[in-house]
């Protein structure tokens, strides 16, 4: 009897699971697909100069970026971006922890930090060009100068607001300074630090593009501007798409890392919600 029912039920469940999977895939790609179709139809029906059809852009994407341009323009840009992001995070967390832990230092620097983070980062490009010339260093410095703030300020705030009972626990068990940093202060601040890192990533990408639009003869930002000035519309669009892909990739990598680092944090949130 049981055998009978189970043989009946099994395929049904499977088809149900498949149906669900199919449904979520449909939801995931349905709307973007619809948009693309509308765009394609529109650009064929009423050809507009500045909105070539997605097919043409895809063709231009392959022609433009797959080949030598990848080595001469894309890779150097990505290298500077990566270096800028890593430096921002390292500097931001190190300085932020120090400032967050030492009260007089925090009170000394607070007004200055408030001011510096309020400066729109791209205006630093002329200054950096003057001091460092049009070099790779200059571009990385611009990226760091703009992207360090979210991590820095979030780290300060996170370190500062370590829970009082947790701190007292550490003190009562005579936990050493280094251990306190490693097992209490940094983990406690990690949700805020990660929130800062997320912003840092997008600011860094913006500054990478801007610094190349301004002062460069290679790189992604330079290429896109070049295409625009020469009315290579499809190529320009392919550059926009590439930047979009880089942004999406960064966001995806971030969310994977964030899920790992903050597993405990998301766990708590889930428990609280249940």
């Amino acid at each position: 009897m049981t055998l009978y029912t189970s043989t009946i039920r099994l395929p049904r469940q499977r088809s149900h699971a498949w149906k669900r999977l199919g449904e979520s895939t449909l939801f995931a790609i349905g709307f973007p697909f619809l948009l693309l179709v509308i765009w394609a139809a529109w650009s064929t029906a009423a050809p507009a100069t500045f909105f070539p059809s997605p097919v043409i852009i895809a063709q231009a994407f392959v022609d433009t970026w797959i080949g030598p341009a990848f080595v001469t323009d894309v890779l150097p840009s990505l290298g500077r971006l990566a270096l800028g992001i890593i430096l921002s995070i390292v500097i931001g967390i190190t300085a932020g922890t120090l400032i967050g832990l030492v009260r007089w230092l925090r009170e000394l620097l607070e007004p200055l930090l408030e001011f510096f983070r309020a400066i729109p980062p791209p205006v630093l490009i002329p200054v950096a060009m003057l001091l460092l010339g049009i070099t790779d260093t200059m571009k990385v410095v611009v990226i760091v100068a703009g992207a360090v703030w979210p991590v820095l300020l979030n780290t300060i705030e996170g370190v500062r607001s370590t829970d009082s009972v947790m701190t007292e626990t550490a003190r009562s068990f005579a936990i050493t300074r280094a251990e306190r940093l490693r097992y209490l202060v940094l983990p406690a601040a990690s949700p805020r630090i990660m929130a800062g890192v997320r912003q840092t990533l997008s600011v860094a990408l913006i500054l990478m593009v801007i610094s190349e639009m301004f002062a460069s003869s290679s790189g992604l930002g330079y290429r896109i501007t070049y295409f625009q000035r020469n009315y290579l519309i499809a190529e320009m669009w392919s550059g926009i798409v590439l930047l979009g892909l880089i942004g999406v990739l960064l966001a995806a990598v971030f969310s994977i890392v964030e899920k790992r680092v903050l597993r405990w944090y998301h766990g708590i949130k889930e428990v609280e919600r249940a």
């Binding site: 995931a28 500045f50 625009q228």
Partner: protein, 266 residues
């Protein structure tokens, strides 16, 4: 010791240290070119820069440029926040739309707004509209995501309560969803305001529509370095004003809500 002395001492100390920080920074700035660590040609004296700042403040054309930048900022922020609130509320409230647009949002949001600059220039040329495209695109997402979170954050118990008392749809929006989403909305507005200012100045630098950003680029090409440094400070002060202003608005409008929101980190 007087009762309130410790707190007073603490505030005075904070003020004194903060002032010391600013004075120390200005002093270092003055000393670096004076001692020849960096040539005064590249890093003008703090006093010269501040003097220039004073001159600019008496110049009408400077204030016109500030006005142009702030107009672009204001229009961009307005368009973005109205659009984001409307779309965010509708999409956030309808589960079907939320699911259908999820991937599209996740793909569009990380696109760096500055990537659209060439397109904006092609379509609108060197005009305010081109700058607005960039400003709106950048600040829209800041608001939109917050509104989505806010509308979705309605407490399950509160919602069940509302349902059990048979509140109508408009009543639910008015008394349940709006108050829940409001803190998120204000946070989104604060973030969007500072992003919009950054992009307003950036657009002027790259697109060359008139404003502070273009002034900086002009000073740079005229090798007027004192002017560049002075204008960088001006943009910093504007940014500071925007940040402080919106933080104040956020705190004012949510004074009743702080305890609820205190722990949430987005």
């Amino acid at each position: 010791m007087a009762p309130s002395s410790t707190r007073a001492v603490r505030t005075t100390r904070k003020l004194a240290l903060g002032t010391a920080g600013i004075v120390g920074f200005l002093l270092a700035w003055q000393l670096i070119p004076a001692l020849g660590i960096i040539s005064p040609q590249y890093l003008p004296y703090a006093t010269d820069t501040l003097a220039r700042l004073g001159e600019e403040f008496r110049d009408l054309e400077f204030w016109r440029n500030v006005g142009r930048t702030m107009l672009a900022w204001f229009l961009g922020l307005m368009i973005a926040s109205v659009a984001a609130t409307a779309l965010g509320t509708i999409i956030g409230l309808v589960p079907f739309l939320r699911r259908a647009t999820h991937t599209t949002v996740e793909f569009l949001r990380p696109i760096p707004s500055v990537a659209l600059i060439p397109l904006a220039i092609l379509i609108y040329g060197i005009q305010l509209q081109a700058a607005l495209v960039i400003i709106v695109f950048a600040s829209f997402w800041q608001m939109f995501v917050q509104v989505l979170y806010g509308v979705a954050d309605v407490d399950a118990v509160a919602r069940d309560t509302a349902r059990s008392f048979a509140l109508s749809r408009s009543e639910r929006v008015r008394y349940l969803i709006l108050p829940t989403a409001l803190p998120y909305l204000m946070t989104g507005l604060r973030l969007a305001a500072s992003v919009a200012l950054i992009l307003a100045v950036t657009a002027e630098m790259v697109i060359s529509n008139p404003g502070l950003g273009r002034m900086i680029v002009h000073s740079q090409s005229a090798s007027d370095w004192v002017g560049v440094y002075a204008l960088v400070i001006v943009t910093g002060l504007l940014g500071l004003a925007v940040n402080l202003g919106f933080r104040l608005i956020e705190r004012r409008s949510l004074s009743w809500h702080q305890s609820v929101r205190g722990e949430i980190v987005l």
